[in-house]
Amino acid sequence: MLASRVFSLVGRRSISTSLCLRAHGHAGVVKAEDYTLPGYVDRRDVPLPEVAFVRDLSAQQKALKEKEKASWSALSVDEKVELYRIKFNETYAEMNKGTNEWKTILGGVLFFLGLTGVILIWQKHSMYGPIPHTFSEEWLSAQTKRMLDMRVNPVEGISTQWDFDKNEWKK
């Protein structure tokens, strides 16, 4: 019990040490980590993300943002595009554009299928023993003859392919 108490003290210290160290420099308030703040996403079903794409504006961009507060007809087309790019990363067209990933995937799939084929061929050639004697030609023909004698599948199956009067396969 004493040992688990010590462990919990050590565990808490190591996790919160880094945050606490920083806190002591900022009058006890911990700086919010990036992952805890609202973020920007490029998603088809999120047309207006929570924050703008560009977080820290350059001086030129700040001036443009000031100009945006006035009448918009005063903005040139390039300035409007620049404002768009500040707010968004990709346009919908860029976001929805397909990639060439399918070629890689197809190539990978076919490659591994081929590799499996090589392995199977090697197995048949160098690993498996002989197949049963019931697969020999004589056995198979005797087997088929017996099936025809028994009239196996006489409506739609093998017995319909054999001409019983002429004793040969139907053409």
Binding site: R146, D149, M150, R151, P154, V155, E156, F164
Partner: protein, 67 residues
Amino acid sequence: MRGLLARRMKFHLLGAFVVSMGCATLYKFAVAEPRKRAYAKFYKSYDPMKDFEAMKAAGVLECAPTK
């Protein structure tokens, strides 16, 4: 609001109906009807006694040996 789900749903409902009915009719005319005809044709000219004699002669009937 803009009927996006409604439009998609209508399209897919119609498509599902057409595809399933198509599959059913295709099966009926490609599988079921030929099979019925094959059975009718087989039994029209089927003589069980002749078949029995042939099988007996071939020696495949354990309780009716060839003799």
